[in-house]
């Protein structure tokens, strides 16, 4: 499948949960250090180039994007100026963003939409906090402040409406229940900063974390003293980790070593695929919920790739 060239450096890519051909790509100018950002919404076509449906400019880089699970046209974006912006594809560009939520005092680094209850989303920020938002309110519902350093990622449990996990630079991953005042579990998961976390879609107690220590660790939160698996193979910090929506033990990851890897943590030779199509840091990866084996990645080489596992991402 052809690649999509973005004018800025890619930061995140997400498949739409509604349409199998649709993706959103978050980008930031100058590697996200200084400058503007842009969100691209693209459509794949079976034969032919990738078509851009919409593009939204922001005054600062966009670090992450998440599709709404309740409205097929709604997007949530994490912007480097600390704001969380909502975009509605069904409205004209002049009406977008439909909402700009400015409560974080530092860069917002991730957003995640609740796929179970479908009325709320999380944002995590360099101000050490995670905020819970609902789409019917202009302010956050509550703030989770326990991490001692930047929170790089927060992810809802795909099987439990009230539980989520967060990954932070304070070297811990924490499990939270929105009904509890504090975190319910603290996993000192790595010796170095944890950049990403994700839940297994098939076991609501299994979580994966990725870290600056180049490893991915899989944990069972019922017994988190030792990891279930440690996946080594990346040459640099692992920027994002994502469980497959289709296979219980398959994990995709992308790294500063410019590769995207596919793992099966249940088998001994856990590395089942390595793609080195990016020529700069690979910082965004996603797996399609609707098409099994369909992967997407983006990176600082200003390309977003979509490909079927086992095929060459660069193949036309």
């Amino acid at each position: 499948m052809p690649a999509f060239k973005t004018p800025f450096n890619g930061y995140a890519v997400k498949f739409s949960p509604f349409y199998e051909q649709r993706l959103a790509v978050a980008t930031a100018q100058n590697f996200g250090i200084l400058g503007n950002g842009r969100i691209h919404v693209i459509d794949l076509s079976p034969a032919g180039p990738i078509a851009e449906i919409a593009a939204y400019d922001t005054a600062d880089g966009v670090y992450d994007v998440s599709w709404s699970e309740s409205h097929d046209s709604l997007l949530v974006a994490a912007v480097a100026d600390g704001s969380v912006k909502l975009y509605d594809l069904s409205l004209p560009p002049t009406s977008n963003p439909v909402r700009s939520l400015s409560e974080h005092t530092r860069e917002t680094h991730s957003v995640d939409y609740n796929a179970v209850r479908r009325d709320s989303f999380l944002s995590s920020s360099w101000d050490d906090t995670i905020k819970l938002w609902t789409i019917d309110r202009p302010t956050s519902v509550r703030t989770f402040k326990e991490h001692a350093y930047c929170v790089y990622s927060a992810a809802w449990n795909p099987r439990h409406a009230d539980v989520f996990a967060s990954a932070s630079g304070d070297c811990t991953a924490r499990i939270w229940d929105v009904r509890e005042p504090g975190s319910t579990m603290i996993l000192p998961a790595h010796e170095f900063e944890i950049l990403s976390c994700d839940w297994s879609k098939y076991d609501d107690a299994v979580i994966a974390t990725s870290s600056v220590d180049k490893s991915i660790k899989v944990w069972d939160v019922r017994n988190y003293r030792v990891p279930v698996a440690v996946l080594n193979g990346h040459g640099y910090a692992v920027r994002k980790v994502k469980f497959s929506p289709h296979r219980a033990s398959v994990i995709a990851s992308c790294s500063y070593d410019m590769t995207v890897c596919l793992w099966d943590y249940m088998v001994e030779d856990s590395l089942i695929g390595r793609y080195d199509h990016h020529t700069e840091f690979a910082v965004g990866v996603d797996m399609s919920v609707l098409v099994e084996g369909l992967l997407a990645s983006t990176g600082w080489d200003e390309f977003a790739y979509v490909w079927q596992h086992g095929t060459d991402p660069k193949a036309p």
Binding site: R99, T105, T129, V141, R159, D170, T172, D177, P245, F281
Partner: protein
């Protein structure tokens, strides 16, 4: 606010593949989910605090269960070193490494650290950001950022494995209040065009943000730092300063006497005198290993 998104949930996306599968393999680790909307559930639990604004520094009082020192954030250094760089001719260094004298308001100075460039342990060990931000703590100094006295001096020293390199900028000027309006904010009236000092303050804030984000990238991975430095070196390279000359220049600033020709790297023919004056050969071949062995260029 009138343009609420209709909270009524539509038909929803197609069912997830995992919804067809059974649940987890053991006792449920969590309390069962409460029915109802998220806001109702949170409010019923008594934990809701709508619209709470948290300054990042406020959370440092929370329990750090690891007992491990957490590195200071780059932007926090403006508190630690607020105003310290003002008019100074010395470089400040947060980690206890040596510094070289600066040059008045130019602020460009080289700092050096001893190894450990790519190891995150370098600042995990409690040494602070010492080497990386070496000479230029005053970059984040109060004089530069929002001070009403101005005259701040910025410098950012970068150490790399024994070679010091300076990059700095001097700036100053009286400060003033500045607003930080989001140009993309769909609510609220268009603001007045900013005045000169406000624009200047914004530019300065941009500098702080810039270095904060570079620092975060370094934090996440030293390779990003490598890339940043490569870009910087290429810049110098293009401007005609080759590596060797640059190194010699920096050494001279640092007061280190170099003996360029004492240890020659073995040439292709093993002969002295046939050395081609090139960027890499100049200071005793010591620069070949600067970036480590496997770092791509």
């Amino acid at each position: 606010m009138s343009n609420f998104i209709n909270p009524k949930i539509g038909s929803g996306p197609p069912p997830k593949p995992w919804e067809r599968a059974g649940s987890s393999s053991g006792p449920a680790p969590f309390k069962p989910a409460t029915p109802g909307s998220t806001s109702d559930v949170v409010e019923a639990s008594g934990t809701a605090r709508p619209g709470e604004i948290v300054q990042s520094n406020n959370t440092t009082s929370t329990v750090n269960t690891l007992g491990r020192p957490v590195p200071p954030r780059p932007w926090e250094q403006q508190q630690t070193y607020g105003g310290a760089g003002y008019g100074s001719t010395l470089g400040y260094n947060s980690g206890g490494y040596g510094t070289a004298g600066g040059y008045g308001s130019y602020g460009g100075m080289g700092s050096y650290n001893s190894g450990g460039l790519y190891g995150n342990s370098m600042y995990r060990g409690g040494g602070g950001y010492g080497g990386l931000y070496g000479g230029g703590s005053s970059m984040y100094g109060g004089g530069m950022y929002g001070s009403s006295y101005g005259g701040g001096m910025g410098g950012m020293g970068m150490g790399m494995g024994g070679m010091g390199m300076g990059m700095g900028m001097g700036m100053g000027g009286p400060g003033g209040p500045y607003d930080d309006q989001d140009p993309n904010n769909p609510f609220g009236a268009p603001s007045q065009p900013p005045g000169f000092w406000i624009s200047l303050m914004r530019v300065m804030q941009g500098f702080v943000t810039f270095f904060g984000r570079v620092a975060m990238l370094i934090d996440q991975n030293a390779q990003a730092f490598h890339m940043f430095m490569s870009a910087l070196l290429q810049l110098f390279d293009r401007s005609g300063l080759l590596y060797g000359e640059l190194a010699r220049f920096v050494f001279r600033i640092l007061g280190v006497r170099t003996k360029g020709n004492k240890v020659q790297p073995p040439g292709p023919h093993g002969q002295h005198g046939q050395q081609i004056e090139g960027p890499k050969g100049a200071p005793a071949g010591a620069w070949d290993g600067v970036w480590g062995n496997n770092a791509p260029n």
